[in-house]
Assembly symmetry: C2
């Protein structure tokens, strides 16, 4: 099966033929290009080399792969966005969360490949992330927004610095 | 052994007699009251009822104990501050971190019992937390500071909103 209906009118749709690739909890992203199938999944394993290529593409600094592996293993949630191909799906988006899975989760490393930006995929990615956290019954989700993406999050209902709360960072020497 | 030297001149000191109670990595807090021994430890298990009493004392809302238990289990680090007594140590301070143990850790729920506030214990608690995270080789530690404690963290070298980064929260409906 190479082409599950990418023109589904229900953006929350999944496709049975994609389950072997992405797990039962995957979600198709609505796309206008009918040649394209874009799939969100927290079940499909993230290939570390592909993730590094994605991070390169968005301009993030590299980390040793063994440290990336450990960070992913210790994350509460890892979500990939793949351009589907039955033989070689390609990772074009990513996000992960740390947290206790109860009271708190924090979103990190939200990335969409530049070639796929500007079509609402970042928003679909965030909706999918929050749906997974909601299913875990996490009470509160937090993130740190760089100036360029503050509006992106505010437009999706994130509260900026509620109660004048400010963020603080400590960097390892 | 009821009274290990509480007047140690080295605030980083530990005491062999306290190891059975608090583990080898405990740290004594310097105190002026020689009747008092205050001990930081990430090894001694946190009693959930005691933690609830501490949270009540600082005015935090309660959570079901089973959810608190799960949140602690899924935390990267749990630190208690105890007023030492060989028969019944008393929890008078607390902090915990979530995170991946590699790139990120986030500090939550920093509390010192009101009766013990104002003597620098909060600072000792934070120094101990950061020392544990440094030992794990965590690259960056973050927290969300309420208006009343922004100066507390800023004075300890935390960078507030570096690069105009802002915090955002999403609350589960």
């Amino acid at each position: 099966m190479r082409s599950p209906s990418p023109t589904s009118t229900d953006p929350l749709d999944s496709h049975p033929a994609l389950i072997p690739h992405y797990g039962a909890g995957h979600r198709l992203c609505p796309v206008t290009n009918t040649q394209l199938t874009l799939v969100l999944s927290q079940e499909r394993e993230i290939d570390l080399v592909e993730l590094e290529q994605l991070c390169d593409a968005v301009g993030w600094s590299r980390r040793p792969l063994r440290r990336v592996r450990k960070a992913l293993e210790h994350s509460l949630l890892r979500v990939g966005l793949w351009r589907h191909d039955a033989r070689m799906p390609r990772l074009v988006g990513f996000a992960r969360c740390t947290g206790d899975g109860v009271a708190e989760a924090t979103v990190w490393d939200v990335a969409v490949h530049p070639r796929y930006q500007g079509t609402g995929l970042g928003k679909h990615l965030m909706v999918y992330v929050l749906d997974q956290l909601r299913a875990m019954e996490v009470e509160r989700v937090s993130l740190f927004a760089d100036p360029g993406v503050v509006d992106f999050y505010a437009n999706q209902g994130w509260e900026l610095e509620p109660m004048q709360r400010r963020c603080a960072f400590w960097y390892s020497p």
